[in-house]
């Protein structure tokens, strides 16, 4: 089980990268492009708040998993 947990760490790192791509490229950039105030706020929140939060938590979790921080003792 510990080997699976560690291997899955790579999956969480990839998931973080995919989430970052989706939030910035698919969601934020088209909204920034419109220039409308009601689009700029969500775009800014996606880029500067949600993206670091989601990518950061998934990436940190992935690194911890890879390093065996979540390994069971027995």
């Amino acid at each position: 089980m510990n080997a699976i947990k560690r291997f899955a760490g790579i999956v969480w790192l990839v998931a973080g990268a995919v989430a970052g791509y989706y939030l910035v490229v698919e969601q934020a950039i088209p909204k920034f492009a419109t220039g409308k105030p009601e689009d700029l706020i969500p775009a800014g929140i996606y880029t500067f708040i949600l993206c670091p939060l989601i990518v950061g938590s998934l990436a940190t979790f992935g690194i911890y998993s890879l390093k065996g921080e979540y390994d069971s003792e027995s």
Binding site: K36, P37, E38, L40, I41, L53, S57, S65, E69
Partner: protein, 532 residues
């Protein structure tokens, strides 16, 4: 935690657990009520404070929606969580209650945009931010307070009463709004009646403060404080300590993230789908949502109780898994239930009314015309359908034509209504499975000295951020599927999405799926012993 009863007996006059639950739950429910009435009355608030076509007002409106829902709640969790671990649970969640109640009451008093201009939306935004902050601090305090009074073997049952409050708050907000609407004319409600649900809040908060004032501090926190074992820097211990931080991450990614999206799908996306995609009459859709919530609410307690018997993880992850596997089927069934293409029309009852009038701009007639076509249809099973098409015919033939505005409303029959109540009820059951045991689950993950801080943040990121993103991302997915179909139609190729209206569900399915896998792999219930 088994020492709870004896500690309580030594340090304070013994209070019944039921009274503690009632005091905590009523206050938390009022906070949810306060938070929801803003959302439920969003349309009317927009007309009063955020006039259409005004870019600054639109900016403030969007900020109010996003900031209070996503950004401020986690900050409230950190701010009040820290306070709760430093000075105590009781005083902290008293402050959040007063802050929320005061902000809500003040929203009800703000003069409209017409009276005081931009100060009106700016004040609304400020008060909405305070509401978000207060909500971020309240839940963790109430859950911790109740859990620290409960015996370990009944923690799931007793904390599940706190879990009811979010649904109950939504339920009460719908009831108060409906009662207010029914007690006056539409015009009066639009003019001043919408303020009543905001103003009523202060009475509820007053009663709740009176009840909470007489409650004692949590026995575990009181003991830790007496022994000098409380944290001096809860933020550093919660998030700066690698050992604790990995549990914060696990709580977020293996539990609250999935819970947040299942919760939002069952309680908010379902309502939005009924109103916007299925175009069911607003009053009917609110009514059937109310029934489904009312029928489903007792299951919070049932699953909380069951989690004491068979464990929290299985129930929460089970709820997520069933939701993931059944969402598309449930929503397809909902859609087809009222799809008029599946119904037999009574052709002779079809009416078409066409009216033509000159368009008006700022009250002055222009040369352009507005053609309003109202088509009414009736079906054998009692369903009624109305389509209002407002087309603008421009006097200047060379001008870019304006897209007609089409509003569809389906009024459903009794049988379809109960079918839909059942389909929404099933989703509420998923909500109760993932949400009922989660307070006890989070509380058990962290030690008393940093519990309030550590559990509040993952809860509000899971709900506020992952759950709160659902409407925006689901709408974007549906729009993108629709565009792909339109492009395929133009190109004369096969449509890529057979049911574009279901595409929004991929967001909760994927997020809950990731959360399910993380929870299944990494949560084993034996990682940490926090029964201090």
């Amino acid at each position: 935690m088994s020492e709870t009863a004896s500690i309580a007996g030594k340090t304070q006059k013994k209070q019944s657990l039921a009274a503690i639950i009632a005091a905590s739950s009523v206050g938390t429910m009022i906070e949810w009520y306060d938070f929801y009435i803003f959302g439920s009355l969003a349309t009317i608030i927009a007309t009063k404070f955020f006039p259409a076509g005004n870019p600054t007002a639109a900016f403030l409106s969007t900020l109010a929606t996003f900031a209070a829902g996503f950004v401020v709640r986690p900050f409230g969790a950190i701010f009040f969580g820290r306070l709760g671990d430093l000075i105590g649970r009781k005083y902290t969640f008293m402050v959040t209650l007063l802050l929320m109640g005061g902000a809500t009451f003040m929203i009800g008093l703000i003069p409209s945009y017409e009276t005081i201009g931009f100060l009106a939306p700016a004040l609304v935004l400020l008060l909405r931010l305070l509401q978000g902050l207060a909500l971020g601090g309240e839940y963790g305090g109430a859950a911790t307070y109740v859990a620290e009074h409960s015996p370990a073997d009944k923690r799931g049952f007793w904390t599940s009463w706190i879990q009811i409050t979010a649904t109950a708050g939504l339920f009460v907000s719908l009831i108060v709004i409906q009662v207010t609407q029914n007690s006056m004319s539409k015009e009066d409600f639009a003019e001043w009646g919408w303020r009543v649900p905001f103003l009523v809040s202060i009475l509820m908060v007053y009663v709740s403060v009176l009840i909470r004032k007489n409650m004692h501090e949590s026995p575990l926190f009181a003991k830790a404080k007496a022994e000098g074992k409380t944290s001096t820097n809860p933020l550093k211990e919660s998030f700066g300590n690698r050992y604790n931080f990995k549990f914060v991450l696990l709580a977020l990614l293996g539990a609250t993230m999935g819970q947040g999206v299942v919760w939002y799908t069952g309680q908010f996306y379902a309502l939005s789908f009924l109103q916007k995609v299925m175009t069911i009459d607003l009053q009917q859709s609110n009514e059937l949502m109310t029934y489904a919530l009312m029928l489903g609410t007792p299951f919070f307690v049932l699953f909380g109780w069951l989690s004491d018997k068979i464990g929290r993880k299985g129930i929460m992850l089970g709820g997520m898994l069933i939701a993931i596997l059944s969402y598309r089927t449930i929503y397809e069934k909902m859609y087809q239930t009222t799809n008029i293409k599946n119904k037999t029309e009574i052709v002779e009852k079809t009416t078409v009314d066409i009216t033509r009038a000159l368009d008006k701009k700022d009250g002055v007639e222009t040369k352009d015309s507005v053609i309003t076509t109202i088509t009414k249809k009736e079906f054998v099973d009692g369903t009624k359908y109305e389509e209002k098409n407002i087309a603008k015919v421009l006097a200047d033939a060379s001008a870019e034509p304006v897209k007609p505005e089409i509003k569809k409303t389906v009024t459903i029959n009794s049988s379809d209504k109960w079918s839909l109540i059942w389909l929404v009820f099933i989703q509420v059951i998923f909500v109760t499975m993932v949400y009922g045991p989660i307070a006890a689950f989070l509380v058990e993950m962290f030690p008393t000295r940093i519990r309030y801080t550590s559990m509040s943040l993952p809860y509000h990121i899971g709900n506020g951020v992952f759950g709160g993103l659902l409407p925006t991302i689901a709408t974007a997915l549906v729009a993108s599927a629709g565009k792909a179909n339109d492009a395929a139609k133009e190109a004369g190729t096969a449509l890529p999405n057979a049911a574009p209206y279901l595409e929004g569900l991929w967001y909760p399915i994927v997020i809950a799926g990731i959360c399910f896998v993380i929870g299944l792999l990494y949560i084993n219930g034996k990682d940490r012993k926090t029964d201090d």
